[in-house]
């Protein structure tokens, strides 16, 4: 038999290494998938226990305002009204994003369109630094600066939705900005050239062409900021007041899902209704971040199609 033909029939060493490598990456991937599924399964089973074992009412969970899981109402159902913290979480999240988006967009436009050189030299490092600051530091600054300031302006204790919003605003500003910069930079240069060559001004080009083309990416940046704000625990907990009450105004003490979790998880015994109720909050947080992720994925897909 021809020696070359013979060698072609035999599996070479590199082919074997190839197979082994592929197997290794597949196993690692599988491991990650299993891990995620396991976490999800664990939190889900724990999270529904309060409804199944302890006969809590899903309706009460989303609509009632009394949170006292170790006590029961007339129908022997635990008091698990989570509405105050759900409202608190959504309020600080949306207000922070509402506040941060215009600033972040302006900064991103400056960095990618108006003055990329100064943007890259000064703003980029500042933003990277801001992203890296631990949240406890933000909370501490909030406690020392923002809470007294709110107290002075709005009265009351200073703790509340407003203080939480302001702290989150500073925290998510760099996140949204840097992702918005990426989105703007991803707009092909030839879009800008096409617009300028047609006699459009720089602002018309930014507003009508660049921002439109980057819209899905900018939406992703905003939702990413939202997701970060929604999941932030420590910094918010330090300034929001931690009262499980429906917030009556922006300066009254309130709480968020994450704050209740961190405040109470050390004080309950595994398997009790009070502990199960906390797992339900964790499940809700997980589902929300899942929703945020799905929206981001969906937007990414849509922008890829364009």
């Amino acid at each position: 038999m021809d020696p070359i033909a013979k060698s072609l029939k035999k599996r070479s060493l590199s082919a074997k290494i190839e197979t082994r490598g592929r197997l290794l990456t597949q196993i690692c991937t599988l491991l990650i998938v299993l891990l995620v599924l396991a976490i999800f399964g664990f939190i889900a089973t724990k999270g529904v226990a309060v409804f199944i074992q302890d006969h809590g009412s899903l309706w009460d969970f989303f609509t009632k305002t009394t949170w006292s899981p170790d006590q029961t109402d007339l129908h022997q159902r635990p008091l698990i009204g989570a509405l105050p913290m759900i409202v608190g979480s959504f309020a600080v999240t949306f207000l922070a994003v509402l506040l941060a988006t215009p600033f972040a967009l302006a900064a991103a436009i400056f960095m990618s369109e108006i003055s990329p050189q100064r943007g890259n030299k000064i703003l980029q490092p500042v933003i990277e630094l801001l992203v890296g600051i631990p949240s406890v530091v933000y909370g501490f600054v909030g406690l020392a600066v923002i809470v007294p300031a709110v107290q002075k302006v709005a009265g009351g204790s200073g703790f509340g939705i407003l203080a939480g919003t302001l702290v989150l605003f500073v925290m998510i500003l760099p996140t949204i900005t840097s992702m918005a910069v990426d989105a703007l930079k991803a707009v092909p240069r030839h879009y800008r050239e096409a617009s300028l060559a047609l006699g459009a001004t720089r602002w018309q080009t930014i507003y009508k062409v660049v921002l439109r083309a980057a819209a899905p990416g900018l939406m992703t940046a905003i939702i990413f900021g939202m997701s970060r704000a929604f999941g932030e625990a420590l910094a918010v907990q330090m300034v929001i007041g931690n009262a499980i009450l429906m917030p009556s105004n922006l300066a009254s003490p309130a709480t968020t899902l994450t704050s209740v979790l961190t405040m109470n998880m050390g004080n309950t015994v595994m398997g009790t209704t009070a502990n199960n109720a906390l797992w339900t909050l964790a499940l809700l947080l997980l589902l929300m971040s899942l929703i945020f992720n799905i929206v981001i994925k969906y937007l990414g897909k849509r922008s890829a199609l364009r």
């Binding site: 879009y191 050239e193 096409a194 047609l198 006699g199 459009a200 083309a213």
Partner: protein, 266 residues
Amino acid sequence: MAKRTTFTRVLDENKYEIALSTNNLRVNYGDYEALHGVSLQFERYKITALIGASGSGKSTYLRSLNRMNDTVGSAQVSGQIMYRNLDINSAQVDVYEVRRHIGMVFQRPNPFSKSIRENITFALQRRGLHDSKKLEQIVETTLKQASLWEQVKDDLNKSALALSGGQQQRLCIARALALEPDILLMDEPTSALDPISTANIEQAMQELKQHYTIIIVTHNMQQAARVSDYTAFFHQGKLIEYDQTRRIFTRPQVQLTEDYVSGHFG
């Protein structure tokens, strides 16, 4: 909208009129001089081809003519660009107005990810034209001028990105025509296209030159020979020779030009 109503204009009247000229035009990128003082005159209603190897400065030169080099931070353009007895390379001139009169078509088709109609109306709307009847009229006229109307007239709302490469490039030409420029700059407009699309665009150019002065950069010497009336040969940032196209290709005066057009280098 005068231009569209005067399609029967007699060309011979303005036969030797100069549409645009440059006087000692230089372009520097920092310390590096990419273009060493080019003086050229472009005759009205003619097609002038700029040929030369990569890096010869012909694209840099073209992009200076409508001040597109302003958008490149490090580029410095000195010298005169005379248009209607005005040096449009001076700082006092409104670049956005310059680009309205001197349109540009790029190497790669670059329509906006908007509908076909919006691609054409974009620049007009930015200039405050919102009369939908008029816009509709211009969409039709310009698409006809770019020989695209028959293929797209039923789906003007379709995304421009759904068109083929050649169709996209003709849309870009139509888009530039919507502003009724005097002069159309084309930067290797067919280099990303297949031969049939190229032929379509070349044919459209022949019709366009009745109403527009066209300056085209091309790598393709057959294309320069086919479509242009005049040819300018650039080499290493200098203008080497400029003449009627048929003389450049049959009896060039400079040895370098002859070497280039006969394919000995480049």
